[in-house]
Amino acid sequence: MDWQALGLSVKLSLVTLFFLLPIGIFFGRWLAYRQFLGKSILQTLLALPLVLPPTVLGYYLLVIFSPNQGLGLWLNKTFGTTFVFNFEGLVIASIIFNLPFAIQPMQRAFSSIPRDIREAAACCGMSPAHVLWKIELPLAWPGIISAMVMCFAHTLGEFGIVLIVGGNIPAETQTIAISIYDRMQAFDNQSASIMSLSLLLFSMLTISFTYWLSERSQKKHV
């Protein structure tokens, strides 16, 4: 087992969650409650990573952040670094790649909160922030948790985008999924199979946890 790669994957997943939790709540809630011009375009853009090949996203990220031109050149000149072939680059790729996995379940969770409850709370004189904290978040909690769990698992399993944007650098961008690939090419089938089995079991656990969570919350609402 490559503990360094596993540690890196867990770190990447947690950092991704740290950014996606507020992003997901903001967009999920916004899309659930509001009608506005261009909503369908925004929804399309946010769902795009579901179907977009990782190579396409990887290609664009490399182009945008390449230190030879444009934004990447500017970043490199100003901060001495840009977002390719390092951990920070993986975080950006991972956030973009997980947008739909975070936003869609949260959007569903916020939509399922009856409008009268929110309005009643507002009528009772609760401030919008108070309504969010005391009413909406507790009710949307199962959706938020399952979104987070899916993002976490999805980040652990990311492969193509990590290889393209991150390269295969030990202790920097060599995540567990890349390490399995690396071990396979070193004919180290034993390590590859141990790591693959661990990820398989973990993925099964994740999926069953989210199913359990959604069943439980459905029962509550009935």
């Binding site: 503990w3 360094q4 540690g7 890196l8 867990v10 770190k11 947690l14 490399l62 952040f65 390449s66 230190p67 030879n68 990447g72 490199n76 840009t82 390719v84 072939f85 390092n86 507790p138 390269g167 295969n168 650098i169 030990p170 202790a171 920097e172 060599q174 690396d182 396979m184 090419q185 070193a186 004919f187 180290d188």
Partner: protein
């Protein structure tokens, strides 16, 4: 309250994770070098010897030489490149991405490789394989990708020299790098393949495969070159020198490379 205990548990979890991740910090200080997949097994031994002799660790990123060169051009933080041909290091030198010129540290060779239990006869003219193509019995032939892997280019040259390229082409299974091509051939996923001698001599492969050395006259010389890149630090410079010294050369020779005179 219920939510409070959830928060507390989250906090405890985060602390545990930070403790778990702390070993990352030490590894992250050692320099990163880029190396062609073909030199993987030899380089692992050399890196261990280097650590034993100097106490310095290096991190190595393996891929095809062409892919690594592209990554360097796109800003990858490598300090040293070990390429399986002379073209890529020269290209980086021309683009002012290196510290000085590249040097040739070894010459590589190609082998024909097949899984141990196949009945296939391996011969220098590849005549048994020619018969397979004529009888329609050749299914998959593994090589590294000639677009960016030097051993893939050499494999293509060999097949062209022997007049087999057109008939084998539809059966090619192309590895992302030479180690992957060797993996295809050694696992039986491909019946046979052309890969680097250095990979075929890896302990993990030796007892699972049969190999035959291809005459070097059938392809252009596979010059294994290396060059320091512009951000190279002291450890990488030390390793660059170490690679040219006796101990490293002996390891390279053991992996089937011919090393130039000292």
């Amino acid at each position: 309250m219920k939510q409070h205990s959830v928060l507390n548990r989250l906090k405890a979890g985060i602390v545990a994770l930070i403790l778990m991740l702390s070993p990352l910090a030490t590894a992250a200080n050692s320099p990163i070098i880029a190396a062609a997949s073909s030199v993987k097994f030899a380089l692992q031994e050399i890196a261990e010897a280097f650590y034993h002799d100097t106490g310095n660790r290096i991190r190595i990123s393996y891929s095809s030489s062409g892919n690594l060169t592209r990554q360097i051009q796109q800003g990858a933080p490598f300090e040293l490149l070990l390429s399986a041909n002379a073209g890529y290091t020269e290209q980086l030198y021309q683009q002012n991405k290196t510290l000085g010129q590249s040097i040739t540290y070894a010459l590589g060779r190609l082998v024909l490789i097949t899984e141990k239990n196949t009945s296939l006869t391996l011969d220098k003219q590849l005549s048994a394989i020619k018969i397979l193509t004529e009888t329609g019995n050749l299914k998959r032939f593994a090589i590294a990708n000639p677009l960016h892997a030097p051993y893939g280019v050499a494999a293509q040259e060999v097949l062209q020299q022997l007049g087999l390229w057109e008939s084998i082409k539809p059966h090619l299974v192309v590895g992302e790098n030479v180690a992957q091509a060797a993996q295809f051939a050694s696992s039986g996923a491909a019946q046979v393949g052309l890969v680097s001698y250095s990979i075929a001599l890896a302990p993990a492969l030796q007892n699972r495969t049969r190999t035959l050395l291809i005459p070097a006259s059938l392809h252009r010389p596979l010059q294994q070159t290396m060059v320091l890149l512009h951000n190279a630090g002291e450890t990488s410079k030390l390793f660059f020198i170490y690679l040219q010294q006796h101990k490293a050369r002996a390891i390279l020779a053991r992996y089937g490379y011919s090393v130039p005179e000292e």
